[in-house]
């Protein structure tokens, strides 16, 4: 009995990051990387992967040391832990995927100041046991990666007529170049949020009509 309760708790913590509390689409956290590097789908996924690594390991460490870290200096400690993992991921990318590292540029280092990561440490990892913290971190960063992939795919398809570098349309397609330039980032996230708002509003309306 206890096991099923626990299992469902883990599942809930994992799933919430994917959609219901999606860091980009719902909480609108970590927008800087979400908009800056998503000019192609592959860059979005790479950024998501780097964030997944940093968030998971930071949560693991913060949660294991949560009883040793004094409350007064917890934020500083989180930042140092996060910065360490970001440095590791920066060097790993530089060594094994130099092309991607060049594309992402300084934004790999800027994962340190992604408010999503610090937010999860403060709101979750510092208060919960290790396994739960890791599950939460995995869910959140997968949700983040998913959002980045969506944005990157939309911008690449509209702005370049391709997905993962493979051309989708014939030669008649006129690429909408502004979408892979900075304004496209703001616009595509803006219109995506607009679409979600519309969906939510429609659902609420339906709920009222059905008498809930």
């Amino acid at each position: 009995m206890k096991n099923t309760v626990e299992a469902s708790r883990y599942r809930a913590e994992f799933v919430k990051g994917l959609w219901k509390e999606n860091p980009v689409f719902v909480a609108v956290l970590g927008m800087c990387p979400a908009l800056a590097v998503t000019n192609t789908a592959i860059n979005g996924i790479a950024m998501g992967g780097a964030t997944l690594f940093v968030l998971t390991f930071s949560s693991l460490l913060v949660s294991s040391f949560r009883k040793l870290i004094p409350k007064e200096v917890r934020i500083t400690t989180f930042v140092i832990i996060i910065a360490t993992f970001v440095t590791i991921v920066d060097f790993l990318l530089q060594a094994f995927m130099p092309a991607i590292h060049k594309e992402l540029g300084a934004f790999v280092a800027l994962i340190v100041v992604n408010c999503l990561i610090l937010g999860r440490q403060e709101a979750f990892a510092f208060k919960n046991p290790v396994r739960l913290a890791v599950v939460d971190a995995l869910g959140m960063s997968l949700g983040f990666s998913f959002a980045l992939f969506c944005l990157g795919a939309i911008r690449e398809i509209l702005g370049n007529g391709s997905l993962f570098g493979i051309t989708l349309f014939g030669p008649d397609f006129e690429p909408w170049i502004v979408m892979i330039l900075p304004p496209g980032g703001f616009l595509s996230l803006g219109f995506l949020l607009l679409f979600f708002n519309w969906l939510k509003q429609r659902q609420e309306k339906k709920g009222v009509e059905n008498g809930y």
Binding site: T76, A83, G184, W198
Partner: protein, 193 residues
């Protein structure tokens, strides 16, 4: 030399605007851009912290990090955060009026991405002390410009009737997108001359 510095300044301010081109410092950009006066003070606080950051980054790069390049990120964050805190205490003592104008914003921006971004970009470009400071001024000016324009537009939108479905973040993002498009026009600024 002077033209180089002017070029760095203009380029950081409008062509490669930190907010609208590099997407740095979006939290304050959307968070405190609902009134022009607040936005302007936030911008000034940013200029202030950016100047301190530029100095710290130059100092660390020239004297410390040659021996331990892997500590770059960690040392930037810690040194910048603590220097800002220190200067904040000094200002509180020396000029309470200035502290009241900027003070509440300082803790918010010490580790925002625009600040760390400036330190990293200035390092990557290999700027010296004077160049770094001019770059910081330009970047801060650009942030202030973007914040104030955004706040102006948002003050106007409050007077309009806006469909409920677009209110909030979606509307702000679309406004920012259009602003960013307008700033793209500056890209041709220097190539013609």
């Amino acid at each position: 030399m002077a033209t180089d510095l002017l070029w760095i300044f203009i380029s950081a301010m409008v062509i490669n605007n930190f907010t609208l081109y590099y997407f740095l410092g979006l939290c304050p950009f959307f968070g405190v851009s609902d009134r022009i006066s607040t936005a302007f003070r936030m911008g000034m606080a940013n200029v202030f912290v950016l100047l301190i950051t530029a100095f710290c980054a130059w100092f660390l790069n020239s004297f410390v990090l040659n021996h331990a390049p892997y500590l770059r990120l960690i040392s930037f964050i810690i040194v910048v955060a603590s220097t800002v805190q220190f200067v904040e205490m000094a200002i509180k003592k020396l000029s309470p009026a200035l502290f009241r104008a900027l003070g509440i914003f300082l803790p918010l921006i010490t580790t925002n991405c625009a600040i760390l971004g400036l330190a990293l970009f200035a390092t990557n470009k290999g700027y010296g002390l004077v160049e770094s400071l001019v770059y910081a001024l330009g970047a801060g000016g650009g942030l202030t410009l973007a914040l104030v324009i955004m706040a102006g537009i948002r003050e106007e939108t409050k007077l309009l009737e806006i469909p409920k479905v677009i209110e909030g973040t979606a509307l702000n993002l679309i406004i920012a997108g259009i602003l960013s498009m307008a700033f793209m026009g500056f890209a041709g600024l220097f190539s013609t001359t």
